[in-house]
């Protein structure tokens, strides 16, 4: 959605984009938003980018029923473990709620995907997906979570599940909770001095002495560089 369109949406007030698409009164708006979880006041934005963010934060796309369904799916995709929280513990539903506004091409995938899921669930069990039992949910999941099992009947569900699985994993592993689960330890000042010895051993690799001789001596990195006339570093 471009900026002009999003301003139009703001002007429409409570009857936002989803009303225009659905042609019926939506029941959205009360669920928690990503900007309620994190502070996005300063992450190096330009003036235009700040305005765009503000527009997106003010917008709604999902209805309450849709975000509820998204949250159920997120936690089926990544339930809590003994050591790590669930997708909704990591605020993945709020992240997806933001992403469908930021990347408008996702909107159709989610709206038609949830509609397909509810339709399939009604046919099979008589109710929307959010209202069926846990066991019934798992039964449907087992039909749409494996692309190799695609049939004409469930292809739309498989496509949608792929999209929401991708966004759930990304939304989870881009949080502190996800980083901790993965064990990621980068993004901090340090001094790189090569691959740890035990890793080299495990991979049966070693640094060649000739190559190492060219590399930085980290005990001297704070001494100002000087060269001789031939470009040999002498400090």
């Amino acid at each position: 959605m471009d900026r002009r369109e999003s301003i139009k949406t703001l002007l429409l007030g409570a009857l936002g984009t989803s009303a225009l698409i659905n042609g019926c009164a939506p029941d959205h708006g009360d669920h928690r938003k990503l900007q309620d979880v994190y502070n996005f006041d300063s992450y190096g934005r330009t003036t235009e980018e700040k305005l765009r963010d503000a527009d997106l934060f003010a917008e709604n796309f999902f209805s309450d029923h849709e975000i509820e369904t998204v949250a159920i799916l997120c936690d089926l995709i990544l339930p809590a473990t003994d050591t790590a929280g669930s997708a909704s513990d990591a605020h993945v539903p709020e992240f997806i709620d933001f992403m469908v506004k930021d990347a408008a091409s996702l909107q159709g995938d989610f709206r038609t995907g949830i509609r397909w899921l509810d339709g399939y669930s009604k046919t099979k069990f008589g109710y929307d997906f959010s209202l069926i039992t846990e066991a019934q949910k798992i039964e449907i999941l087992d039909e749409i979570a494996y692309p190799d099992n695609a049939t004409d009947e469930n292809q739309a569900g498989i496509d949608f599940f792929r999209t929401i699985r991708n966004l759930t994993l990304t939304g989870y592993y881009t949080t502190q909770m996800g980083w901790d689960d993965l064990g990621y330890v980068g993004n901090r000042p340090n001094v790189w001095d090569g691959i740890p010895e035990e890793v080299l051993n495990e991979h049966e690799l070693e640094y060649e002495p000739e190559w190492l001789a060219k590399c930085v001596d980290q005990t001297k990195h704070n001494i100002t560089a000087e060269w001789d006339e031939d470009g040999n570093l002498i400090t």
């Binding site: 190096g44 339930p79 990347a103 881009t174 064990g183 330890v185 890793v199 690799l205 640094y207 001494i223």
Partner: protein, 572 residues
């Protein structure tokens, strides 16, 4: 820094604050000239928290670093991209070109991968070597002293290797290779392909007291808050402003044209003040254009007068002609030995620690120009895209694809850091028929006529890309890695990126000794207007397989000192 709006006359007005313009500003100001810089975008200083994206974890961006407004993602330092609202460009049907612009202090130097390679002796004289295209009017020996100065002024790590067409310089020491890079070294050597430490303008060792030493976050594209990587703002303009007090910045100022007097001599640059839409001008004795190859061509072509009816400096009709970009393609591979890795911090510098320079200058091949190989991979920061289709990697091992629950957590952990890739960056052959010109219909939102591009790759580039993909498979084979996706074929031009995608566009105001076949002379001076100089990559006669920035800066020093010399001799 305060924005000066005075209307004083300057010794020099420079359009653009990137590699060429920034370097020229520094040299001219240090020689005592009063300098104005016109920059189309806002101020930027990564040391100030409001501009900083470095070290921000993924969740500080609501889109987790994806690229809704910046082509390389939310945390990339470069504003702008291939598409900028209100600043269109057009293409002739059946041709393709993407034009990346970064409107901000320091321009595209804020994004670039800091790969800093000297052109070698062959790169200035390719026609002598393969009979195709044109030679530069100058050679490596003319530029070498300036490369030496750029090395010492800005800092570049690398190693002395004694390779004829990959000249050594004054290097800082390179960092040790990462794990996937050791696997690459092993595989490439087995495939008979050389590997050497990379050459990046990042301070692995102290260079001076204005700048810090790299703290290995691997995020140079986010711009370094302690200035341990190069960008034109932090390493050229700021220190020169501080030491000389002779550089005024005119920001959010979109250059429109170079104004000339009745004799055809340039007198001023006009610009649109983007804050209020007004048109203003700055008078100067010398006009220096460092707006980028295509922006400079656009400004000159839009500078029409009775004396210069086809645009300033365009008596040859060649402004905009010979536009060329580097070629680009690449492929990713899964390295089974890197699955289930022990996780540690291997961020390193912002970019590769090793690379393969072009190694087949002496071979008889079915294409004329070479390419180098850039290696990527490792346990980078999980950001938008992590987990996307990770489960599909199971198909390489005939294991179940898809699912939900703990299996997905295991997939993410099992494959984290196991995919690496090789990017190919090559030399294209400049063509008269690849060019930009002024679109007779379309104007940007400031009312300035825009560029229209005509660009097609030739078989020289297609056959080069085909060769490159054979090379990549040979290396992956030798590494025991599994190439991902399909090897691109003739139907997709062997995976060749559309022109403009590699962001090395050059050649639009090429230099030469003959005013009939070139726009600028060997000192970057317009043949048709003595007091107008081009210090961006427009002057390149041919773009080697190497990144152009180091050569832009070396030539900018050379041109700027020539300006001072000519002013002293009262020749301008």
């Amino acid at each position: 820094m305060e924005i000066i709006k005075s209307r004083k006359e300057y010794d020099a007005v420079i359009v653009g604050s990137g590699a060429g313009g920034g370097m020229s500003a520094k040299i001219l100001a240090e020689k005592g000239l009063n300098v104005a810089i016109i920059e189309a975008g806002p101020y930027f200083d990564p040391a100030q928290d409001k501009y900083r994206t470095q070290l921000r974890p993924s969740w500080e961006s609501p889109r987790r670093g994806s690229g809704s407004t910046r082509a390389f993602g939310d945390f990339d330092a470069a504003y702008g991209g291939w598409d900028i609202e209100g600043e269109p460009y057009t293409k002739t049907e059946g041709t393709d070109f993407g034009w990346f612009r970064s409107r901000m202090l320091g321009g595209r130097t804020n994004h670039w991968g800091r790969i800093s390679l000297r052109f070698g002796p062959l790169d200035f004289k390719r026609k002598d070597w393969d009979g195709i295209g044109d030679n530069w009017p100058i050679g490596y020996e003319d530029v070498k002293p300036y490369y030496d100065r750029v090395d010492k002024m800005i800092g570049v790590f690398g190693s002395k290797e004694g390779i004829f067409n990959e000249p050594d310089g004054f290097f800082l020491p390179p960092p040790k290779p990462r794990l996937h890079e050791l696997y690459y070294i092993k595989g490439a050597r087995k495939a008979g392909i050389p590997v050497i430490p990379s050459r990046l303008s990042i301070l692995t060792k102290r260079l001076n007291n204005n700048r810090g030493v790299c703290f290995y976050c691997g995020q140079c594209n986010r711009a370094c808050q302690i200035y341990a990587d190069f960008s034109a703002g932090t390493c050229l303009i700021f220190p020169a402003q501080k030491s000389t007090g002779r550089i005024d910045l005119y920001l959010n100022a979109m250059a429109k044209e170079v104004l000339t007097d009745g004799n055809g001599k340039a007198t001023a640059v006009s610009y649109i003040n983007k804050d209020d839409g007004s048109e203003q001008e700055i008078k100067a004795k010398v006009i220096v254009l460092g707006a980028s190859a295509c922006s400079t061509a656009r400004i000159l072509l839009n500078s029409k007068s009775a004396t210069h009816p086809d645009g300033l400096g365009n008596s040859s009709g060649l402004i905009g002609r010979y536009l060329h970009d580097s070629t680009g393609t690449g492929r990713a591979a899964l390295v089974p030995e890197l699955m289930n890795r022990k996780i540690y911090n291997e961020d390193g510098v912002g970019g590769m620690h090793i690379y393969t320079p072009w190694w087949l200058n002496k071979e008889k091949l079915d294409f004329p120009r070479g390419y180098h190989l850039e290696i990527w991979g490792g346990m980078g920061m999980p950001s938008y895209g992590i987990g996307f289709d990770t489960t599909y990697l199971n198909s390489y091992f005939n294991e179940t694809v898809g699912g939900y629950g703990d299996k997905l957590r295991d997939d993410v952990k099992r494959f984290f850091g196991s995919v690496m890739g090789i990017s190919v960056r090559g030399e294209s052959v400049p063509q008269f028929d690849n060019y930009c010109e002024i679109d007779p219909e379309v104007k940007d939102k400031w009312g300035i006529p825009v560029l229209r591009f005509h660009y097609k790759w030739t078989d020289y580039e297609r056959l080069q890309a085909r060769h490159a993909h054979e090379t990549l498979e040979n290396i992956f084979d030798a590494m025991g890695a599994i190439p991902m996706g399909d090897k691109p074929g003739a139907d997709t031009d062997y995976g060749l990126a559309p022109p403009g995608l590699i962001i090395h566009e050059v050649g639009t105001t090429r230099m030469g000794d003959d005013p009939a076949s070139s726009v600028t002379n060997r000192y970057n001076q317009l043949h048709d207007a003595d007091n107008v100089f081009v210090v961006d990559a427009g002057v390149f006669v041919s773009q080697a397989d190497k990144n152009p920035t180091w050569t832009i800066m070396a030539l900018s020093i050379r041109a700027s000192e020539y300006i001072v010399d000519q002013l002293q001799k009262q020749n301008l």
